[in-house]
């Protein structure tokens, strides 16, 4: 029996999910959304009563506890207002819905792309009935002699201690989609794409779903929001297709030293870069050994009172 394929929801299914205006969380169905809102956003913190809307809670707080409600609890910044009467998906302003749909769409395509990159499978809807996927292994027609010659070369190489590059790099230039750790090369390096896949053919995305805003570029290369998150790594294990055409192993041993050299050259700065990437953060306060109070104490308006 073959393994059952996991079904990923498509964009329409994702867009149909009800979601909460206050915290942007999405739910399987409307009932769950409503009970979420009652529990998280419209619950009275004095008596625990769950109201249906923010307005209802406001009136309840006023009449029962003589307190005024100023904001909706657990809401995202900017969504805490009491002016909107929200119940489930009712009352959400149209522009907020548009904004949400755009985010979902963008996230959807980014996710699909990422999955395609990791699995090496073509993206949904691509190559369905047209040309074959470019990342199919190219057919190699070798005669028996050629195969024997290659095997012989392999044996002598092994005897001489020459490191064999990863098999797939030699045998068939794998298109970038099938190289998980290295990421999709940015558009600046189009040569890294096999000729057939230079930019995924846009016909793969149903035109009815393609949003007019900026979600489209997702498909054509790098993932927006993290431009260049994973810079291309030339050299290591992933020679640009064309560098080693199938069956021409003669040049290979010469270039292996270069390859190894490149890898070691590449490795050191790569490490550093990665740790910097992880720290895409800004510390509001940073000091090794001076506490904020000590810094404050040096301000002229406080320093003048400091004992000397």
């Amino acid at each position: 029996m073959t393994k059952k394929r996991k079904r990923y929801p498509d964009l329409i299914q994702k867009l149909e999910r009800p979601w909460c205006y206050y915290c942007e969380r999405d739910f399987d169905d409307l009932k769950i959304l409503i009970s979420h809102q009652k529990a998280k956003h419209f619950k009275c913190d004095r008596c625990g009563r769950r109201l249906n809307t923010a307005g209802g809670l406001s009136v309840h707080m006023n009449q029962v506890h003589k307190e005024t409600l100023t904001h909706v609890e657990n809401a995202n910044p900017g969504r805490q207002g009491l002016e909107l009467e929200i119940f489930g998906m009712e009352g959400v302003p149209a522009e907020i819905i548009d904004q949400h749909n755009q985010q979902v769409t963008q996230a959807h395509f980014a996710e699909e792309q990422e999955r395609a990159r990791l699995t090496g499978n073509p993206m949904r809807g691509l190559y369905g009935n047209g040309p074959a996927a470019p990342n199919k292994r190219p057919k190699i027609n070798e005669s028996l002699d050629e195969i024997e010659e290659r095997a012989g070369k392999f044996r002598t190489d092994r005897k001489n201690g020459v490191v064999m590059p990863p098999a797939d790099a030699v045998q068939n230039p794998t298109p970038p989609v099938a190289q998980p750790p290295y990421g999709a090369p940015p558009l600046g390096a189009p040569s890294a794409f096999p000729p057939g896949a230079a930019g995924y053919p846009p016909q793969g995305i149903p035109p009815s779903l393609s949003p007019a805003n900026g979600a489209m570029p997702v498909i054509s290369g790098s993932i927006p929001g993290q431009p260049g998150a994973l810079p291309p790594r030339p050299g290591f294990g992933a020679p640009p297709p064309g560098a080693f055409p199938p069956g021409q192993n003669g040049d290979l041993s010469n270039s292996i030293d270069d390859l190894i050299g490149e890898v070691t050259k590449e490795a050191a700065p790569k490490e550093e870069k990665k740790s910097k990437k992880d720290k895409n953060q800004r510390l509001i306060f940073y000091a090794e050994t001076t506490s904020p109070e000590e810094k404050m104490a040096l301000l002229p308006r406080f320093a003048e009172f400091m004992r000397t």
């Binding site: 009275c44 913190d45 004095r46 625990g48 809670l57 707080m61 506890h65 307190e67 005024t68 409600l69 100023t70 904001h71 609890e73 657990n74 910044p77 805490q80 929001g225 993290q226 895409n280 953060q281 800004r282 510390l283 509001i284 306060f285 940073y286 000091a287 090794e288 050994t289 506490s291 904020p292 109070e293 000590e294 810094k295 404050m296 104490a297 040096l298 301000l299 002229p300 308006r301 406080f302 009172f305 400091m306 004992r307």
Partner: protein, 360 residues
């Protein structure tokens, strides 16, 4: 939900500490960089009533209540530790450090006053031993101290943490005669966080403590040195914000444990106060942003109120401070607002019990 109210008469410079009295839950001390200690009755009238102001020579960095609700201790940039009689306003200098004094704590059980100064010493005053004190040298500058019923945790520069036994400290202080004494810490630890420790607070049940760092992170650990207890320690990120894909990380200035429920509150440079359940590792709730950085938090002794000291311009030592943002907020907590998740179970069992009584 219901908004906290702010005290009507606030300090004019940043607030360094807020402290509730040990018995009266509406009596509040506030120390400020404006060189005053303020005493409020938070509920005498709407907006609280300022009972008295005590002037100091220099900015005050910390304050705490003493043996009763009419005695307080303060410390600050005048290098002095003072005793204040809150009725008469009389101030007595207890000792003078060699540098600014960052923290004072009073342990009622041990009748012991502890001050921590940037001169890298602790000073211990046993109140039965009148004007005398003794000093304990620390490996680094202390940044925050906190006392549990039996332990004193001192968080210092270079990520050092010393834990002392209060019994031992009280013993040496009883006979102290202004000399430096060598007291071995009960435990010496290294902070489990990478960055400077900002605040430390002990669990009211004497089991452990939390510490926070300038890099939006809080660690929870246990006193018990056994491997089993030590493996329970953990740290988590908080007080961060995503701005244009960048993680903006705020220091966690304030930490305070709830005296009844054993949950704790954190206050950060982002102006947010959050309540956490240390055992269930859950955030219980997060309050709406305050207008400026949250510097200090305290719960009243009955756990009914939380006081939050909010002041701007603290973290980077910037000199321009907008007016009217330095404020103390008081929030009345609902009966279950600060309790952890297990509350529901106990309610359930109450109900069962009641049912049982009715049936019999």
């Amino acid at each position: 939900m219901s908004s906290p109210f702010e005290l009507a008469q606030n300090p004019t410079e940043p607030i360094s500490a807020v402290k509730f009295a040990t018995s009266n839950p509406t009596r509040l001390l506030v120390s400020s960089w404006d060189r005053h200690v303020y005493l409020y009755d938070t509920h005498a009238e709407p907006g609280g009533k300022l009972l008295q102001k005590f002037e100091h020579r220099a900015p005050v960095l910390d304050v705490c209540f003493g043996r009763d609700d009419n005695e307080a201790f303060s410390c600050g940039l005048d290098f002095e530790v003072r005793k204040i009689n809150l009725e008469t306003g009389e101030q007595t200098v207890m000792s003078t450090h060699a540098m600014g004094v960052r923290n004072v704590r009073f342990s009622v059980e041990h009748n012991l006053l502890i001050s921590a100064s940037w001169d890298s010493t602790l000073r211990l005053h046993h109140l039965s031993n009148h004007a005398n004190f003794c000093a304990v040298r620390l490996p680094s500058k202390p940044f925050s101290i906190s006392a549990s019923p039996t332990k004193l945790v001192v968080a210092m520069a270079n990520r050092a943490v010393n834990i002392y036994e209060l019994d031992k400290l009280a013993e040496v202080a009883r006979t102290g005669n202004q000399e430096v004494v060598a007291v071995e810490p009960w435990q010496q630890r290294e902070s489990s966080m990478k960055y400077m420790t900002r605040a430390v607070s002990c669990m009211p049940n004497d089991a452990g403590y939390s510490s926070s760092s300038i890099e939006g992170r809080v660690a929870v650990e246990w006193f018990d040195p056994s491997d089993e207890s030590q493996s329970r320690k953990y740290a988590f990120k908080c007080h961060r914000q995503q701005v244009d894909g960048q993680d903006v990380v705020y220091p966690v200035h304030a930490l305070a444990y709830h005296p009844v429920h054993g949950t704790f509150a954190t206050g950060g440079g982002d102006g947010v106060v959050a309540l956490w359940d240390a055992v269930a590792k859950r955030r219980i709730r997060q309050y709406q942003k305050f207008p400026a950085s949250v510097q200090t938090i305290d719960f009243s002794s009955d756990g009914k109120y939380i006081a939050i000291g909010v002041s701007p311009g603290f973290e980077d030592g910037v000199d321009d401070v907008p007016d009217g943002v330095t404020k103390v907020f008081i929030r009345e907590l609902g009966p279950t607002e600060a309790s952890g998740k297990k509350q529901k179970e106990s309610k359930e069992s109450d109900r069962h019990q009641l049912g049982g009584v009715k049936a019999s």
